[in-house]
């Protein structure tokens, strides 16, 4: 035992440990382990694909009116029938997916922008900033959401973009809360203290060290919020506060269907089923992501 100095290169450093796998791969594997997650993800992927390729796959122009073909039940020509202006429901459904998905993405983006940075800032800095931001978000959260949305749209004027802005504002506190709570956990980790001791500025510490470690739960909130935004957009459009004619979304289609309920009850089904399935798929996806993340974390914990 004369080996007093430190060897430059350990000959026996085992290349990696058998129980550990790269964190990212573990999460993906954990997520894909659940069948419901794969089904939900697959459905959503198809939906996005359909929305993107709408001009190619839609059998008719969604806005061409045909007064002679008004309110026809499903047939070989019009697989899902026609609406009160004689427009093909299937085509409108496909084009509406574009609007609905885009709108919900917009809303979530707004919520992310309004909720995440203040959440990280509040959790990281604490003090008066935290108090003020938390108060604001709490106020936002305690207002009844539909009423708040209608108010915002009333002020900004109707239209899908304004409606989504409203929904984004309403959903922001959710992002804020998760970001703030997770940041407060992460802030007490030694590597944050280490980065400050190293001379990293606040911005770098927040963006480079805190944000990446806050993202996993945020990803979950994004997934669930996308589903909620689809439903919220449908509600606003149903009330006529969202998408404006001639464009359509699932919500406005539902509105059309409801006013023709007596004559053409079959019109309710296509948009209704799509809204239901999409919200469900986002929820299942979020659930799968969450379970996958916790599983891979606990599996890593055991290896130590």
């Amino acid at each position: 035992m004369k080996n007093v100095t430190t060897p430059l290169d350990d000959p026996v450093d085992a290349p990696g440990e058998p129980y550990e796998e790269p964190a990212q791969a573990g999460i993906v594997r954990g997520i894909l382990r659940r069948k419901s997650t794969i089904v939900a993800g697959g459905f959503l992927a198809l939906l996005v694909l359909g929305a993107v390729l709408a001009p190619l796959i839609a059998p008719y122009d969604p806005n061409v009116q045909n007064v002679l073909q008004r309110l026809r039940p499903p047939s070989a020509d019009h697989l899902l029938g026609t609406d009160d202006y004689g427009r093909d429901v299937l085509s409108r459904l496909i084009y509406s997916a574009r609007v609905s998905l885009q709108a919900s993405a917009q809303a979530v983006a707004v919520a992310l922008v309004i909720g995440l940075p203040p959440g990280v800032a509040a959790g990281y800095r604490g003090g008066w900033l935290d108090t003020v931001l938390t108060r604001i978000m709490d106020t936002l959260m305690s207002a009844p959401s539909l009423v708040l949305a209608i108010t915002i749209v009333a002020v900004l004027g109707p239209g899908i973009t304004n409606a989504m802005l409203a929904i984004g504002v309403i959903m922001a506190p959710r992002f804020f809360r998760v970001a703030r709570a997770t940041t407060m956990d992460v802030r007490h980790e030694t590597y944050i203290e280490a980065s400050i001791a190293l001379g990293c500025g606040n911005l770098r510490t927040a963006v480079r060290h805190i944000l990446p470690n806050v993202m996993p739960p945020i990803v979950l909130v994004i997934s669930v919020s996308l589903g909620a935004a689809v439903a919220a957009e449908a509600s606003l459009s149903f009330l006529g506060l969202g998408v404006r004619a001639p464009a359509s979304s699932w919500g406005s289609m539902l509105s059309t269907a409801s006013s023709n309920m007596g004559l053409a009850p079959y019109l309710v089904w296509p948009p209704g089923v799509m809204i239901f399935l999409t919200v469900l798929a986002f929820t299942y996806l979020g659930d799968g992501v969450r379970k996958g993340m916790t599983r891979s974390r606990s599996a890593r914990g055991k290896g130590e």
Binding site: V12, D13, A14, Y19
Partner: protein, 343 residues
């Protein structure tokens, strides 16, 4: 020496033979974490299971407690004999009667081993009532008696306190009281003083020594800290990479080790009064994780005495070495090894 040999003629309280424990790996198979571990703990004896992380010492102690399954592993071979019974195939129902009155375990983090929602008295009384069938009043009396035994001042008052009212050292005493309340024959202590301050550690070690004298309980002391082991144990089992590297009496292990790993470990401990060139002797390299154990002797690539072509190809057996030890080293009789030296 001769006294000790006579003692061991009585059947040992605990005997493991060729114990092998495996855990699932990500590839879907099973990786051995402990392999062919054999040792005995005699009546009233105090035995140390020493090793670094990944050596399998904790897994071995969990296997003795029958907790391998709880941790997700399985006993893949060998036997654990306790007080005349074979434990490896024991059904869970019978285990419940054995943990408590048969053997008890204390852990590194005493505060986490206690339920914060109940008073310490309730927690001690609960285990006495369940295992020994005491009534409520007798159980409470027993709880006070036990707190007194582990030298908690004003035991009759503290019995109604919640765990958070106790310091780390006091929590460990409460844990010991809880385990000892059922009169176990074997006490397994997994790094019980590692989280404690040095002066508190000293007192807990003293307490364990006194408890052994008073109750005759056998002790299986799991630790990475050889200095603590020297203060407490008569017999030492040194584990490395899932197997026993060397075992023998404490005196022999510390003063004339017969395995280069033991000798290296002893050299790596800072010793009072010795500060030669202000450096510690170190063992190069790092501990191989289960599943990546090298062929041949598992210590060969860190060993200063290795013989190329021999140590890296043949896996040594545990063989008698020196006057009293057993060592798993092919070259044990050829090499000169340093024991511990103190100024």
């Amino acid at each position: 020496m001769t006294e000790r040999q006579q003692e061991t003629e009585a059947p040992p309280l605990l005997e493991t033979r060729d114990l092998t424990v495996e855990f699932p790996n990500p590839a879907g198979g099973w990786t051995p974490v402990v392999q062919q571990v054999s040792f005995t703990v005699g009546q009233g004896e105090s035995v140390a299971l020493v090793g670094e992380s990944g050596s399998g010492k904790t897994v071995t102690s969990l296997a003795v407690m029958g907790l391998t399954g709880v941790m997700g592993g399985r006993v893949a071979g060998g036997s654990v004999h306790f007080d005349g019974r074979e434990l490896t195939a024991l059904p869970e129902r019978e285990w419940r009667g054995l943990r408590g009155p048969g053997m008890g375990m204390i852990f590194q983090q005493p505060i986490r081993s206690l339920n914060p929602a109940f008073t310490v008295g309730d927690q001690i009384a609960e285990s006495v009532r369940r295992h020994l069938g005491f009534n409520r009043k007798a159980a409470r009396a027993r709880a006070i008696e036990m707190l007194d035994l582990v030298q908690i001042p004003r035991a009759a008052e503290r019995v109604d306190d919640y765990p958070h009212a106790f310091s780390g050292g006091m929590c460990q005493r409460v844990m010991i009281a809880m385990v000892m309340a059922c009169n176990p024959r074997l006490l397994i202590a997994d790094e019980p003083t590692t989280a404690l301050d040095v002066t508190v550690q000293e007192r807990i070690l003293q307490l364990l020594r006194e408890l052994q004298e008073q109750t005759g309980v056998s002790l299986l002391f799991v630790s990475h800290d050889l200095a603590v082991v020297a203060e407490l144990c008569q017999k030492v089992i040194v584990m490395y990479a899932g197997e026993v590297a060397e075992q023998g009496t404490a005196a022999d292990i510390f003063l004339r080790p017969r395995h280069p790993y033991t000798s290296g470990l002893l050299a790596a401990i800072p010793k009072p009064g010795l500060r030669s060139d202000r450096r510690l002797e170190s063992i190069p390299g790092s501990i191989p994780a289960p599943g990546s154990w090298p062929a041949g002797c598992r210590f060969h690539d860190r060993c200063p005495h290795r013989e190329p072509g021999r140590c890296d190809s043949r896996h040594p057996d545990l063989t008698p070495a020196g006057p009293a030890n057993e060592a798993r080293c092919l070259r044990t009789s050829e090499i000169e090894l340093q024991g511990v030296t103190v100024a």
